[in-house]
Symmetry: C2
Subunit: 311 residues, 2 copies
Amino acid sequence: MIPQAPCPATIEINEVGPRDGLQIEQRFIPTAEKIRWIDALSTTGLARIEATSFTSPKAIPHLADATDVVNGIERRDGVEITVLVPNLKGTERALACRVDELNLVMSASASHGLANLRMTPQQSIERFSEIVSMARESGVFINASLSTTFGCPFEGVVPQARVLELIEQLVALGIDGVTLCDTTGMANPAQVKALCEAVITRWPSTAFTLHVHNTRGMGLANALAAWQAGITRFDAALGGLGGCPFAPGATGNVCTEDLVHMFEAMGVNTGVDLDALLEVAATLPELVGHEVPGQVVKAGKWDRRYPVPAR
Amino acid sequence: MIPQAPCPATIEINEVGPRDGLQIEQRFIPTAEKIRWIDALSTTGLARIEATSFTSPKAIPHLADATDVVNGIERRDGVEITVLVPNLKGTERALACRVDELNLVMSASASHGLANLRMTPQQSIERFSEIVSMARESGVFINASLSTTFGCPFEGVVPQARVLELIEQLVALGIDGVTLCDTTGMANPAQVKALCEAVITRWPSTAFTLHVHNTRGMGLANALAAWQAGITRFDAALGGLGGCPFAPGATGNVCTEDLVHMFEAMGVNTGVDLDALLEVAATLPELVGHEVPGQVVKAGKWDRRYPVPAR
């Protein structure tokens, strides 16, 4: 019998709504509204907020205001601000704003990398090497998000051996954390548990984060499986915003408030004030101009009571 | 270290859509359409179908055609037909149709029992005793569904000790199986795992089924936790139909095709031909006249491939 890893008593939530959530929205959210939203989020006990992406304004016009957003938000102790950076120019802009973390993104599968980033995995690794060289002495935390870790919408299954080989290269570069991304919601709990156990065992000093989508309803089940494997860091998007442009019909990221609700109901400490988070989540349909998938905002928390109906 | 129960290699699905799913629908589904639907379901490898309820037509007008439905459907080897029976009269009608299983329903909490069935738990147990006496010699399988096992929308938490005490009484009556029902989606995976482990250990020859709702997004996570505890029987409703009249805004039962999809992706044998089930699920919006929550019908199975976009 293999001893089971103890299920962690405490986890950390990385809110990716302002970046991953917004980038496929139809309308541009005005900078002031983004700042108000992030400021509201940063009072709820989230460990980390992915505030924006320092990418070319042409590539993602919705996030063209990256510098203004990061310079405009209130910085709070205990809430790290992370941003996506695609290249050296973005890194330079991000570092000038004194972010706490850089998030580099690559795909585990070549066809997704070429479609999404115009780079093969190997080209991404080379790019990351340059970014690490530039950013290292700033002391910023450097995270790499590995898209299509659990499967590629073009290629299908990505073999676990291939994923481990890429992580090996990322660790060798000096990357501090790696996010295992189920970009289009293909992962199942058995697969998540197996990969999470493998990476935690092999690289105990690397900070691993799970990033899942709820495309096929398995978002929370996959998060549960990762937690059982010892994962303590979870990406999630408020309201379940987001999606993948290459998998139409797919719903978005796992919903932050639903994830926090599940773990808090289980007695796991998320650090988040769920009531405060639900208040922010309730404002989301107005902010983005449409309904969002999150369920706890609609149903209420598990301990919600109803009046006994009249006989 | 407590040895972990092995996760079961095979599970059984009990489709509750035609009964639990339909009873809160707005429109009456014509008998012929119900029969066509159940006949289609019974070719997909489901172990059991809860076809209807032999309740008073006044109480649930949508299921007033119970006898015609059960007599009209094609009976197939390997597919058990179960029906809800609330009393002796319903039992007599059900037995006359040669059903395979009777499903008796009671609540673990008094206020829900009184609101839903006009009976306290103790009154329900007495009623069950009469039904068991009448039905025993027919050889039919007798199941008891215990509503609000994981929480009551009026009273809140139902203590596990109270639930175990009620199950003890059910087992003493000679009930063959007990369904643990999370009637309004209040359960979390830690609670599900703890209760399932407790009942399996204590009553190894009773057939336990998990019945969860996806009200707060935890349906599949709760099913996963139950499976990890050794549960092999799962209630689910096609498309995620259903709900609870006393918890407005709550979404329905865990979705059959999403549940089958998760377990099949994990390599667990559900006995179900998922493609055939998805075909039936795709006809559901037309049958019930509205969209349904199921996600795999919309997103496709986990291994769905997309064409690489043009550059």
